[in-house]
Symmetry: C2
Subunit: 305 residues, 2 copies
């Protein structure tokens, strides 16, 4: 198992030549998540040969156009391509009304159901949970109600140490051992100790998506230690005044957050169209947090457990 | 003077690889018109180096997503690029509400004014007129209220025949002659005859945009003799049942309309994504009307007067 994150767009408000606006495709435990959905998302999904039908959950951080205007075209295309499975949509209040109005004027009744989940951007909320993963909201500081998303694999079972396995253990007992329980006989005596017969579980991977936000120290404790952090880096420090005015971050601030949260790796994105050369943003972030890469479209970042 | 039409997209409902959905850029008498605005229009405008600030009039045929979902991103980008000039928007009822709702949820107040003009799709309407051009609506037959657009240069003045021009004629008299009036003296005697001193005006160019529509013979008289007709050709004749069901046209039907209206040239577009090879559509249309071309994105069609 692994985590695969593909960047479909990472340009800020205006698309720059060769850079689409925010959109990411995350594969985690055979779940497929779309994170933000800037204009042209469906074309990028096709271009990078990512499966659209597999997407069951779409997370929209906020209602600035560069984060959601690719959604309505995608929803229509899913309909035309005969989707029938429910689609779960997580977004701040308003997106449901925007979609419903556009369906009304196109006289469309989709052949699948959209399940709207309204995100309360003021607090940490468990948005989704199933047998293998959880997704929490991350309150961000922006001009509009805005939320990041924290994707986590659930704790995995311990693994059987095949070298130590002895005969006569039942399947039910193996499940107990993997869950970290000793096997006892009818008299209460321990006959197999889980610590002897199993090795620790594979680590649970985690990914935090944080766009758009001003410097936001409040989220450091929530994202502490994640394997991968995507943090917006709209500006260089020389344009700090613009970052403050528009409630965005500089690349250096993204690096500072990554360092404070002791994450394993940082990706920066949401680049202002004013920068043709992204290297200055990268160098600035790396001056604060070394293990940083640019989130450039078409790239896939893979974490193996 | 000339007419320049650039195709930015001509795919039907679903974008196909390398084909964007409907959008065209028309230059006529130094006016710049955007006709329909499918997803990614602003990126196509940049890609083909067409001026976005010069666009003062946007015509939307109907509210199926493939004809208007590139508009909201374009409107936001015009705002971010500091547009201040009014933008005139011609569309069936509903688009104003869709735009206003999205501005509300993004807490945006545009720094330019959108002037909405609601198109009554049931009748021919003069949508716009200035000193040099007129734009009329063309009622179409589709599943939604839908209108095409007829762009015409106004009749131009006659031209002075420089070889015949004699001395002593005032500027005011030249304007009279160009307008087709004889010059008379105070006694009412003709002293200069316009037919002798001028030659006929350059012809006035015309362009009719007709997408989306089922076979619509009712419009033939309105578009009769136009220099250029764009007519949708979503399907080949083998898929006629699909054309009828979805209220679209076949390529052969597009050719039949062009022949009946005796237009000078036909462009076909709005190709279904099911056809990888567009040549079959072209051959079918040409079997009914010889002077036919495919409206493929990135191509510019120029008519000189």
């Amino acid at each position: 198992m692994s985590l695969n994150l593909t960047i479909l767009g990472s340009s800020a408000a205006l698309p720059a030549i060769g850079r689409f606006t925010s959109c990411q495709y995350l594969e985690l435990q055979n779940r497929y998540f779309l994170i933000d959905c800037g204009e042209g998302a469906q074309m990028q999904l096709s271009r990078f040969q990512l499966s659209i039908p597999k997407i069951d959950h779409v997370f929209i951080s906020h209602l600035h156009g560069d984060h959601y205007l690719g959604l309505m075209p995608l929803l229509f295309s899913m309909h035309l391509n005969k989707r029938t499975a429910d689609l779960h949509l997580y977004a701040p209040a308003g997106l449901d009304e925007i979609i419903t109005l556009q369906l009304k004027y196109s006289k469309s009744v989709l052949n699948y159901k959209i399940v709207f989940h309204t995100v309360d951007t003021t607090r940490i909320q468990l948005l989704m949970e199933d047998s293998a993963v959880t997704v929490e909201s991350i309150p961000l500081k922006h001009k509009l109600d805005c939320s990041g998303f924290l994707f986590r694999e659930k704790q995995k079972p311990r693994r059987i140490n095949k070298e130590k396995l002895v005969g006569g253990i039942t399947s039910a007992q193996i499940l107990q051992l993997k869950a970290g329980e000793n096997i006892v006989d009818e008299n209460g005596n321990t006959i197999y100790r889980y610590e002897e017969l199993t090795i620790p579980a594979r680590p649970s991977l985690s990914y935090a998506y944080c766009s758009d936000t001003a410097l936001n120290e409040a989220m450091v404790s929530q994202i502490a230690g994640v394997d991968l952090l995507y943090h917006e880096a709209t500006f260089v420090t020389a344009d700090l005044n613009k970052a403050i005015e528009t409630k965005h971050s500089t690349a250096a601030q993204a690096g500072e957050i990554a360092a404070a949260a002791q994450v394993k790796k940082l990706l920066i994105g949401h680049f202002s169209a004013r920068y043709k050369d992204l290297n200055q943003l990268l160098l600035e972030a790396r001056s604060k947090f070394k293990n940083t890469d640019l989130a450039q479209e078409g790239e896939t970042f893979t974490l193996a457990d």
